[in-house]
């Protein structure tokens, strides 16, 4: 078995508008484009991922919400039609994906050993959520790399941000240990928007970019503050500010993916590459990469610290 490696993580937001704007054959609705700066950002992220040659992509999605434990996709092949419940006019996508069940089971087991409630999802008729699918399509439209899908347990909302993110940290460390033990070369995908203030009505033409802008100034300013810290590699400050960002910027990182990924990476104090930023119905979205391989921090040769 090869040595486990977390090559990188990407902040890879999942507005279905980006798939809609691209007009891939899998998506039924047709658009006149739109959200180009974000889609071009994803083009650069795709090129970077392609060079990494990972064995597996792990994605933690806020749109698979579970209340009893953290769940993992556990069926080798899943396919179907994913229709976005919020934007069915934009996203009706035929998906087909392969799951790395061995790694998913290892994540589930390591999470259980760390004290979390965990569960494998074994139902072959399960409809994968649109957050997972959008993030995966935008980062790797070829769908040729197996994936591990993790649910977002609702602890941050049911209890509070601190306890919830604490649980996501445990999940991240368990994920790291599972990757180490299975010898995978993995990339982690944070399927999150930043500030999540959004408009409450959709323009007549959804891709009319003359109507697109940050929903409010506070959300935009928070996004810029956090992105700037990430670009400089001041990640400890980012994690310290996260609860305030969540509170004041209504940030979707509350759902846990960001904390999960950074805990899995061992909280590296390295600068992120910003591929681009843009708004979607007013929400703030950044495509960013933390490349552990380039930083010489990717190889997992020791158990995660408790």
């Amino acid at each position: 078995m090869s040595q486990g490696e977390i090559i990188a993580s990407f902040l890879a937001p999942h507005p279905p508008h980006l798939v809609y704007g691209e007009n891939p054959p899998q998506n039924e609705p047709r658009s006149q484009g739109g959200w180009e700066p974000l889609r071009w950002a994803y083009e650069r992220a795709r090129a970077s991922l392609d060079a990494m040659k990972p064995d597996v992509l792990l994605v933690h999605s806020p749109h698979w919400i579970t209340s009893v434990g953290h769940h993992f996709l556990g069926v080798r092949q899943l396919s179907g039609k994913s229709v976005d419940p919020i934007f069915p006019n934009l996203f009706r996508y035929d998906f087909s994906l392969d799951v790395d069940v061995e790694l998913a089971e290892a994540c589930c087991e390591e999470g259980r050993k760390a004290g979390l409630v965990t569960k494998m999802m074994r139902n072959p008729n399960f409809r994968v959520d649109y957050g997972t699918i959008t993030t995966l399509h935008m980062i790797r439209p070829q769908w040729d790399i197996p994936i591990v899908g993790l649910s977002a347990n609702n602890t941050p909302y049911y209890l509070n941000t601190k306890e919830g993110l604490g649980e996501m940290e445990v999940l991240g460390k368990a994920t790291r240990e599972a990757i180490r033990k299975t010898g995978r070369r993995a990339v982690l995908l944070i399927s999150n928007t930043l500030s999540h203030w959004h408009f409450h009505e959709e323009p007549e033409i959804p891709e009319d970019m003359s109507r697109e802008h940050p929903q409010n100034m506070a959300g935009y300013q928070w996004d810029m503050r956090m992105i700037e810290l990430m670009r400089k590699g001041r990640m400890q400050e980012v994690h310290k500010l996260l609860p305030q960002f969540i509170e004041e910027g209504f940030a979707e990182v509350k759902s846990g993916a960001f904390t999960w990924a950074h805990a899995a990476m061992g909280y590296p104090e390295i600068p992120a590459e910003l591929y681009g930023y843009g708004t979607v119905i007013g929400t703030g979205n950044a495509v960013m990469e933390w490349n552990l391989r380039k930083a010489g921090l990717s190889m997992l040769d020791e158990p995660a610290l408790a």
Partner: protein, 271 residues
């Protein structure tokens, strides 16, 4: 009378998926019993609101005449599939789309193959035997930004819109009571309300509903919502109140039970 019957039923799919658990089985039987009462009221249309159909942009109404598929609950996938074949009254639903701006709400119809009908709506349809060609639905979404007053206005508007088509209406609110749940695996045979405070609140709210004292009920609801994590601020109850013009004579509680610690009841309103 345009509204001929009204019911509040649980949205959790567990009573449908695993009725061998005693409490869940009793709830399933109670919903089936309520379904027989609903059928006996001879409605033309069932006006449904499920707390689990989330919307954040606009108010959505199901305008697809027939929705079929196989649903798997995102939490309870291990208990199996939920096949559905739901018929909607598209003309009545379109009237609701058109009428929503009159109460200040922008609305849209949803008519897409494969649209993810929520677990609550499917559970209610299956157990109540509604959403059939004989008893088609008009279903409105739960816009997470709508408060109880907006929800009541939308329900009242829907009743007016459907009444304008000369149809008899049964109203169904789909959702739970207290919302505290067990967050670890439990043996369903040992399920009970999560804590005594929630149980007291649930019983108080049920007594007030049974009494038909709407002003006392309205006075109690904010405390219930605050202290017992009541399901979506009890907007499914507000939907019923809006549809009934804020009045009912009393109610029969067919069953009250726990679903993974949360409160659930099957209520038939006396009009």
């Amino acid at each position: 009378m345009t509204v001929v019957s009204a019911f509040l039923v649980p949205g959790s799919p567990l009573p449908l998926l695993n009725s061998t658990a005693p409490g869940w089985g009793r709830l399933a039987s109670a919903v089936r019993r309520a379904g027989r009462s609903l059928a006996a009221s001879h409605p033309d249309v069932i006006l449904v609101y499920s707390t689990q159909w989330f919307a954040v942009l606009d108010q959505l109404w199901l305008t697809r005449r027939r929705s079929t598929g196989l649903h798997v609950d995102e939490n309870w996938h291990e208990f199996g599939d939920m096949p559905y074949d739901i018929h909607a009254d598209a003309e009545a639903a379109e009237a609701c789309v058109a009428g929503s701006p009159t109460v200040g709400v922008h609305a849209k119809g949803v008519d897409y193959d494969g649209f993810p009908i929520d677990s609550g709506t499917i559970t209610a349809c299956t157990l109540l035997e509604i959403g059939t060609p004989q008893r088609p639905l008009v279903v409105g979404s739960n816009n997470l930004y709508h408060d109880s007053a907006t929800t009541e206005k939308l329900a009242a508007m829907a009743v007016d819109a459907i009444k304008g088509q000369g149809k008899r209406i049964a109203v169904v609110g789909v959702g739970g009571l207290s919302g505290s749940i067990y967050r670890e695996q439990i043996d369903p045979r040992n399920d009970k309300i999560h804590n005594p405070t929630d149980d007291r609140w649930n019983r108080q709210i049920l007594r007030l509903i049974e009494s038909g004292d709407v002003s006392e009920l309205r006075a109690a609801l904010p405390g219930f919502v605050q202290e017992s994590r009541a399901d979506m601020g009890m907007k499914h109850l507000h939907w019923i109140l809006g549809a009934l013009g804020g009045r009912f004579q009393g109610a029969r509680v067919h069953d009250y039970n726990a679903v993974y610690g949360a409160g659930a009841a099957v209520i038939e309103f006396t009009l």
